[in-house]
């Protein structure tokens, strides 16, 4: 009870903080609400969690992608009044409006479908199956009508090309890893694809990401713009004349010990500007010398190209860049300056506080109004672009009470606990998953105890945590350890840590895409399962218990929660005993082994198991190993 009271008090305080940025808070029902009333209103149902925004061509309707509610909500853009809530698929992540405004295509990331909304009728008129974890959509138009639909698939790392009339898939184009966001150039000729994970690379090398460039008419990849030392790339946007592109991303410092954030940085939050206006791609820092603006996500460019707006999901604000000043600075500094945090003073003109975890944003056609989706407090901030002030806040329908789980999620995404607000949990666990990187976490010397980042899904029953099993539970993993080694600043209070732990443990397992719809295993998977469970090797010899796959990787989650020396330790590891990792959705999480030294599942056995310490495997044929891996992918 005391805990509930504290949580409510915290929620009220948070809302009061929001109110400071929201002089004119209006509920989604069009009724003015004071903050206390908003805080005390308790409603059943899911939080809305607005993630992305779009405006109708005439600017009167604001479409809001509400991820947790599995809805698209249609708001009156002037008043914030909800005109309609349209149910879509599970966990929608991105959407796109046809240029005529008559169709809205929604990517439902967890049920692998596209919902097609007839916007005059405000109803779903079709649901099309697509590939693995569709995350955003772009509509290619010819002669005024939609011709092709492009869908970025985060898990299958590709872009599907669909017939916009029928939804039939024509082909898939190879993108980068974690293809997630799409933007068409204003002339409709080029499609740009960004990725939340870096491309697979060499262990302990700087990450490399790409912007995949597609000829939107021919539906062919024509270029891959490299983003060196970048991992975690989000939205990309273009000026209306197509001469300037801006993409938001993270610049991690994962090759040196993270333990010294007070002496440097763990991440730089940057954008890359490119296009003919700049003549070259230039990475531009958004942070300041003593203050960071974490998780740049959404990008919008003023119609007159005077300003760039960027949301910061970890810092609850919007950065405004003065474009003429940026151009002047870039021309005066031909060398790289991504790590020069003093640079931003030359072109950042404002920081506008908004709600919690701001994500998607959209500008009105005249550039006057900027709408920002605040995912973790279910509001839309309306910013007057002339004054850089939040002038209204639309409150979306849904529970107003901040539940402990919601509070935990807010804590997961906020960067304020870290020294100078450098980063939060979500920096490395992008969208509560992972980041595809290996990290040097502890103050034990350069290159000592390198760890691969693990997926956070359905963690209950997989403890202990940490590569060597050193942390018996999530509060230990996320508490003192994180505070001491990572944040170097604020400690969580007990309730916050409890809520954060509850949230981390609540993250569900996403659907496994390698299982067949009927739950049956394919013949190859069935054979792989038999290998996984075997007790006799191919020469008829018994396999010792501890050398069977199914012994250590037992149970529904594929771990017996014990530590073993499986021969994959490195001289730079302080311990030879390694925690047995869970196997759920293991196909997604390359690289593998505790330090990310195996680039693929195959390499675990073809390279790193010469003495059969990591399970009896050297008697297997290549066919057997392939089938074993096909089975593991189904876990």
């Amino acid at each position: 009870m005391r805990r509930l009271g504290s949580a409510l008090a915290a929620a009220a305080a948070l809302l009061l903080v929001c109110a400071a940025w929201s002089p004119d808070k209006v509920s989604a029902g069009g009724q003015r609400q004071d903050n206390a009333a908003a805080a005390s209103t308790e409603q059943e149902g899911d939080y809305a969690s607005p993630l992305e925004l779009a405006l109708s061509p005439d600017g009167t309707r604001l479409y809001v992608l509400c991820q947790q509610a599995n809805q698209v909500r249609v708001l009156d853009a002037a008043t914030g009044r909800t005109l309609k809530s349209i149910d879509v698929g599970h966990m929608p992540r991105g959407f796109a409006l046809a240029s005529a405004g008559d169709r809205l295509y929604v990517a439902n990331s967890w049920d692998d479908t596209i919902s097609v909304i007839d916007t005059p009728a405000l109803k779903v008129v079709a649901t099309w199956p697509v590939a693995a974890e569709p995350s955003s959509v772009a509509v290619q138009t010819a002669a005024g009508s939609a011709k092709l639909l492009y869908v970025a698939n985060r898990i299958s790392n590709d872009v599907a090309v669909l017939d916009a009339a029928t939804g039939s898939e024509r082909k898939r184009l190879v993108a980068g890893r974690g293809a997630s966001y799409l933007a068409l150039s204003p002339d409709g000729k080029r499609l740009f694809v960004t990725h939340v994970y870096p491309n697979p690379g060499t262990q302990r090398a700087a990450p490399e990401s790409e912007i995949t460039v597609i000829d939107a008419r021919a539906a062919r990849v024509i270029d891959r713009m490299p983003l060196d030392s970048i991992a975690g790339v989000f939205h990309v946007a273009f000026s209306p004349d197509g001469r300037m592109g801006v993409v938001a991303h993270l610049h991690p410092k994962n090759l040196v010990p993270l333990a010294h954030v007070e002496h440097g940085w763990a991440f730089v939050d940057t954008v890359t500007v490119f296009g003919t206006d700049f003549g070259r791609a230039v990475e531009v820092p958004l942070d300041e010398l003593d203050r960071y603006f974490a998780m740049p996500f959404g990008v919008a460019i003023a119609p007159d190209k005077s300003r760039i707006y960027i949301t910061h999901g970890g810092s609850d604000c919007v950065t405004v860049i003065d474009v003429p000043r940026l151009m002047h600075f870039v021309r005066a500094h031909p060398g790289p300056f991504a790590q020069d945090l003093s640079a931003s003073a030359n072109y950042v003109s404002a920081r506008i506080g908004v709600g919690r975890n701001p994500r998607g944003l959209v500008l009105s056609r005249d550039g006057r109004w900027l709408f920002v989706a605040n995912r973790l407090d279910d509001t839309i901030s309306v910013i007057d672009a002339r004054t850089d002030r939040v002038v209204r806040t639309f409150v979306l329908e849904g529970p107003r009470k901040i539940s402990p789980l919601r509070h935990g999620e807010q804590t997961f995404y906020i960067a304020r606990f870290a020294f100078q607000g450098q980063f939060g949990c979500a920096n490395c666990h992008i969208d509560s998953t992972f980041d595809g990187l290996t990290w040097d976490l502890e103050p034990d010397g350069f290159g000592v105890d390198i760890v691969d980042n693990r997926l956070l899904e359905d963690l209950r029953g997989t403890e202990p945590f940490k590569w060597n099993g050193g942390n018996p539970n999530i509060p230990t993993e996320c508490g003192v350890r994180t505070e001491k080694y990572f944040w170097r600043s604020q400690n969580y209070d007990d309730l916050t840590l409890a809520d954060l732990s509850m949230y981390v443990l609540s993250i569900p397992q996403r659907p496994n895409r390698w299982r067949q719809p009927d739950g049956q295993l394919s013949p190859a998977q069935e054979h792989g399962k038999a290998i996984f469970e075997r007790a006799i090797d191919k020469f008829g010899k018994p396999i010792p218990l501890e050398n069977r796959c199914s012994y250590c990787h037992s149970g529904p989650k594929g771990t017996n929660q014990k530590s073993f020396d499986v021969g994959t330790g490195k001289p730079t590891d302080r311990s030879g005993l390694l925690d047995t990792p869970q196997l759920m959705n293991i196909a997604l999480t390359a690289p593998y082994l505790h330090d990310g030294s195996a680039r693929s599942l195959e390499e675990i056995w073809t390279v790193f198991n010469p003495h059969d310490k990591h399970g009896r495997s050297n008697d297997l044929t290549k066919d057997d190993l392939n089938d074993l891996i096909e089975y593991l992918k189904t876990r």
Binding site: V174, V221, R224, E602, D623, L625
Partner: protein, 354 residues
Amino acid sequence: MKQRLAMPMMLVLACAAFGAQAPQMPRFRFENFTTANGLPDNHVFSVLVDGDRIWAGTENGLAVYENRQWKTYTTVNGLAHRAVLSLALDRQTGDVWAGTMGGLSRISAGRIDSFTQLNSGLSNNVVYGVSVEGDNVWVATAAGGCRFNTRTNEWSLYNERNTPMVEIWTYAVSATPSKVYYAVWGSGLLELDQKTGRWDKYDDPDGENEIVLFKDQGLIHEIVTSVSYVDNIVWAATYFGASRYDGRYWHNFLTKDSGLPSNFLNYVKGVDANHAWFCTDRGLAYYDGINWAVYRPSVTTGQPEMTIRDATGNVTPVAVTSAPAHNYVLGIDFQGQDIWVATAKGLSHGIRQP
């Protein structure tokens, strides 16, 4: 040796004596590329036409010719191995697949992803052949065949354990939505019916003998080096002649009764059911269903040479001023009416002449 040279000469003379008109066969002006003009290596194993781009798999990298300039991809760029033995184009996506001596590489808008026997389900790093069919990439390796599904990333292996393959040294693959054919070095020709999943095996009815007792009653020889399936016709190349199979009847080609310049064939590419190109150790040959043409530097003088052999066996020399870079021919592809030819000493662009 004298005897071998005398025969064609007699045919030429006979042809001239009777004033016979040689059939019209395609004529080319050859422009040759070597290290002297941008190729990374003169030893060209494979060639692929991709619109205006030409890809050349050489012993020292994968070269692409575009806008009259060569660019080379090597292991530094992520190529699986410097020696590129085979090439295939995914016509849907524009991606190029390269079989190398060290794995399989995908080249997609400049990015190279390499699959090896260690980091993927590829059965063996020596990739002799590759063919793209829909979402599947079919691979011929020194340890059997593989199919890589680009949508599911699943690898399926084909070898002596699940096909009639006796030897697992697969040399080439030709895949279509209906049938997939593997050329197996020493184990004949394998056919997969994609609808039924059933494998069939075609062997030389003479066994491993190098004499031909059963002409046109089966595959010409067990050592099959190349296969091309087009218009429901199988064209097969072996080290001891070539074969054409229409699903019911075999027709075999030997130097003694066709226009093939040699029975030692590295590669065959069918144009359609009745037209095919044959790459031999003694020149490039074209068959139009009746007549033959051979293009090569003369095996005796090295001078450019073209001969036409008609249905009756008459051979007519054609005056030419250029020839493929070498008579050891390893591959061919088509660019409209033009041809691109991979040889042991350079890449040749055959520009069709009126």
